[in-house]
Every structure is written in C-alpha cells, then in structure tokens.
C-alpha cells in the first residue's frame, strides 16, 4: 500500500518536473527541473529495489552531469529565452506525430500487458543489488560494457581535440 502511494507521488513529481522543464523560460529553472526529474526517477528505482542504480542515478546524473549543465549556463550567463508563436511545421507534422506515437505506445502497453512481464513493487527483489549488477556487467555483458567505455573515451578525446584546435 505504502509502496503504491509513494510510486504515484514520485511519478507525479517526475511528470510535473518534466512539464515544468518545458514551460520555464529561464535555462537555470529548466536545468533545476531536470534535476527534480532525475531525483524522483532515482526514488522510483529505489522503490523497485534497485538501490545501486538509484544511487548511481543521483551521483552521475543529478550530481555530476546536471552540475556541469548549471555550470555552463552560469558561465555563459544565459538569459531568459524569447518566445515565438511556434512554427507551421510543428503544427502540421509535430502534433499528428506526437498523437500517433502516444497512441501506439499506449495501445502496445494496454494490449501487451499480459506478455510484457512486470516487477513486484511490494516484495523484496534482488535484481538491483550491487552484487547482481556487478555480475551482469562484468560477466554477461562484459564486452558491450567495455566497448561502451571505449566509445565514451573516444568522445572525450574528440571533444578535447575540437576544443584545442586553433583558428
């Protein structure tokens, strides 16, 4: 019972933060709304029993990446953005696209609710424990994991090269 209530509360906070992110005009307010979204996502992970993922979500996304976002916004001293009345392309292509996408995803979830499998919200689960995740990362998915880290390293080196180029 408590779990369901908490899930709904954090889910609502998450969605509210996401909407606020789009509505706010100042970049700092948008960035802080994104922090709220990430923090509430971390709490939902915690409710699912994935404590390690929750902690990493807070440390990496809310604590490191978003701090860098805020840092850059502060450094560039970005002001409030201007409003436009929207383009016609968005109206003609965007709105129907969003409706079709939302409809498809919703229909998939409703029709496939029996096949998709689920997670027990109340009872203890062990799929998110530190040991379980370590075993998955370093045994089953070792190669993809290492390749991803090499990919990120290449991206960092690319950023350094682009940043240092003189012209």
């Amino acid at each position: 019972m408590v779990h369901q209530v908490l899930f709904i509360v954090f889910g609502l906070i998450c969605v509210a933060g996401a909407i606020n992110l789009l509505v706010q005009r100042h970049p700092i307010s948008s960035a802080l709304s994104l922090v709220v979204v990430m923090a509430s996502l971390a709490l939902i992970y915690l409710l699912l029993g994935a404590e390690f993922v929750a902690a990493i979500q807070v440390i990496v996304y809310a604590g490191a990446i978003m701090v860098l976002f805020v840092f850059v916004i502060m450094l560039l001293n970005a002001g409030a953005e201007e409003r436009t009345r929207g383009s016609r392309m968005a109206l003609i292509v965007g709105v129907p696209g969003v409706i079709i996408l939302a409809g498809t995803v919703g229909w998939m979830l409703v029709s496939g609710s029996g096949r998709l499998g689920g997670v027990n919200l109340v009872g203890p689960s062990s799929f998110g424990e530190t040991h379980a995740i370590a075993r998955l990362l370093f045994k089953e998915f070792l190669l993809p994991f290492e390749i991803t880290s090499v990919l990120i390293l290449i991206a960092i080196m690319g950023a350094v090269v682009l940043g240092k180029r003189e012209n």
Partner: protein, 361 residues
C-alpha cells in the same frame, strides 16, 4: 521491533544526533578560533565566559538578531533556497553514519546509527549502500554553493561559485576513486559492515602482528588521496579558492547575511564532521579500539563511542592545524594537482590493490 518502538527510537536518535552535531559545530568554531589564536601567538576569544566558552552562544544570538538583508536584483527563490539546500544536504549524510555498535536501553537493543534497523530476531542491519548515499548527497550539495553565487547577481559571488563547482566536480572523482581500495578489501558498501571487517589484528604469515586490522595500513595512499580531495570538497584551506577573501571578498556567500550566512557556515562545519567520520569509519576502524577490562559496565558500553569521538576529534584538529599552517594554492595549481596528480595516483592505487586482492583470492 514493532513499528511504534521503531519510530520512537528513530525520533529520539535523530533529535539526539542533530543536537550533538550542531553543538559540536558551534564548539568547533570556538576550538578553531582558540587553536588558530595559539598558533599565531594570540589568545583567541577570552571575554565571554571562562576561556571564552560562551562565545558560540553569543555568536548564535548575533546571527539570529542581525538584519536579514535581501539585496535588489537577486533571484529571490533560489537566493533563499541555496543556503537551505547546502545545510540540509550536509545534515542528511549524518543519517547513515554509525557511531558505535549497539546500545540496549530498557530491553530494547538499537543500533547507534539513525538508519540502523533492528530485525525481529534481534539482528541489526543498515542501508547497504551507505557509502554511495554519502557520495550522492554530497554531490547534490554542490547546488547550494553554485546557486548561491548565481542567484546573488554579484560578480564576486558568481566567480566564487564557478570556482567552487569546478573544484568540487574535479575533486569528487579523486575522492570517489580513493575509496575503491577500501571497497575491494571489505567487499561491501555498508558502512557498518566496513567497520566490522576492520576488527581484530593484522595476521602476517600466521603471526599476530598486534597491529589493529585497520585499512589505513594497506591503503595509506588511498587515505592521503581521500584526505586531500576531501579538504578540497569542503572548501577548506589550502583549497579554499571559492571563498578566497583576498580575491573575492567572501566568494559565493558575499551577499548573504544573518541566518542565511550562518546556514552556509554550519553546512561547511557539518561537512567537515562528515569527512572526519568517514575517514574514521573507512581507514581507522570506526569504533574499534583497545579493550579496557577494568571499566564498569556503563563505561564498557560507552567505550566504542568514546573511541569514535576521539578519532573524529583528531581529524577536526588536523583540519584546524592545517588551516593555521598552510597558505592557499593558486587556482591553476589546484586544478593541475587534482587532475594530473591525484586522479592518476588514485587509479594506480586501485590497480595495485585489485591485483593484490585477486592474487590473494
């Protein structure tokens, strides 16, 4: 333990720990002024009460009674939110720190830790990602400093908070990596379990060496990386770039007054306590110490807490001693030191430790 007892015990523990922590913070400021005074051949505070012992109370009254200024052109919401965020985040990390093993009062056994839970069978457990929670909460605390500088709408504040966020992100890496050696040796992220894995003495080749089984001995490199990175994380001398008063007036809290300034001040000192507690728990065996058989039972029960407090006091003393001794780094030196020296050293420490652990297994 039923729900009612659990809630009562938790509320009592929270009230007690917050009271002790804030009193400790107040008297650390007294100790700092006194010690720095002696180091610089002065007396420090002497006027209010014997040895100036009531000085923290006078300071507290002064902070509450001062005018709470809200400068023009500040971002009002964030300006008020920032000090609260800094203080709340620094206080939350205390919740997962174990101060001792257990204590039994009127038949109820409870862990000396806010987040410790007594099971129906009498077993005690705590949050099994305690260390990650401290790291996560500290990384959220950066927002307090960053937003304070930005929302103040003042160039000194902004420069201070830019320096602070850059410095904290850079040193967080070295800080996190310096603790990996401990995790490799203990095999757990729970602070309670890490302390338990440090009981007894080191055994070398079948001989009891009479050296306590503390992780400082195999992880001395990790310990120094942790200490340096933690000093930078808490913005203390020699890494107090964000509030360098000769360059930036007071850094990120230039525009703050009254209790809002006091909140930043308290947050800094609570963070110092967190760093000291973590160093004690991870490297110096937590509440472990020599067994003293001649003490009465009440003394025996409180001895672990006394050991813990003594070790924490040592680290607080070290903070103040270093403040009285070392000058401030230059900003480029600080960044180069963090990225080009501490980070590679921490990675080398992890590689060597994991090789030794793998060889032993």
């Amino acid at each position: 333990m039923d729900t009612k007892t659990f809630i009562i015990a938790a509320v009592i523990k929270i009230a007690l720990v917050v009271f002790i922590m804030l009193t400790g913070v107040a008297y650390t400021t007294w100790l700092e002024r006194k010690l720095i005074g002696r180091i610089q051949n002065r007396w420090g505070p002497t006027r209010v009460g014997p040895f100036g012992l009531l000085q923290p109370l006078a300071d507290g009254v002064k902070f509450i009674l001062k005018e709470d200024l809200l400068p023009d052109y500040v971002h009002k919401g964030l300006f008020i939110l920032a000090p609260m965020l800094a203080l709340v985040m620094s206080l939350i990390s205390i919740a997962v720190i174990p101060f001792g093993e257990t204590i039994t009062i009127a038949g109820h056994t409870t862990a000396l830790q806010i987040s410790g839970i007594t099971h129906a069978g009498g077993g005690i457990s705590d949050i099994n990602i305690g260390l990650l929670i401290i790291l996560g909460v500290t990384s959220i605390g950066v927002y307090g400093v960053a937003l304070a500088g930005w929302s103040s709408n003042s160039k000194y504040s902004l420069l201070g908070s830019l320096r602070a966020s850059a410095q904290m992100i850079s040193y967080e890496l070295a800080l996190g990596l310096s603790l990996v050696g401990i995790l490799l040796l203990s095999g757990t992220l729970s602070l309670r379990e890490i302390v338990f894995s440090q009981s007894g003495n080191w055994v070398l080749g079948g001989h009891d060496t009479h050296v306590p089984h503390w992780f400082i001995f195999p992880q001395i490199v990790g310990f120094f990386i942790y200490l340096l990175a933690a000093y930078a994380e808490t913005n203390r001398i020699p890494f107090d770039m964000p509030e360098a008063e000769t360059e930036l007036v007071a850094g990120y809290h230039t525009e703050y007054s009254s209790m809002k300034f006091a909140m930043f001040f308290m947050a800094e000192y609570v963070n110092m306590f967190t760093v000291a507690c973590l160093a004690t728990l991870l490297f110096f065996g937590g509440w472990h110490g020599p067994h003293l058989g001649f003490l009465p039972p009440i003394g025996q029960a409180l001895l672990p807490v006394v050991y813990f407090a003594a070790k924490v006091f040592f680290f607080i003393f070290l903070y103040i001693w270093i403040r009285g001794t070392l000058p401030r780094f230059r900003y480029d030196q600080l960044m180069a030191f963090g990225w080009k020296f501490l980070l590679p050293l921490a990675i080398a420490n992890i590689i060597v430790t994991s090789l030794i652990v793998a060889w032993g297994a």
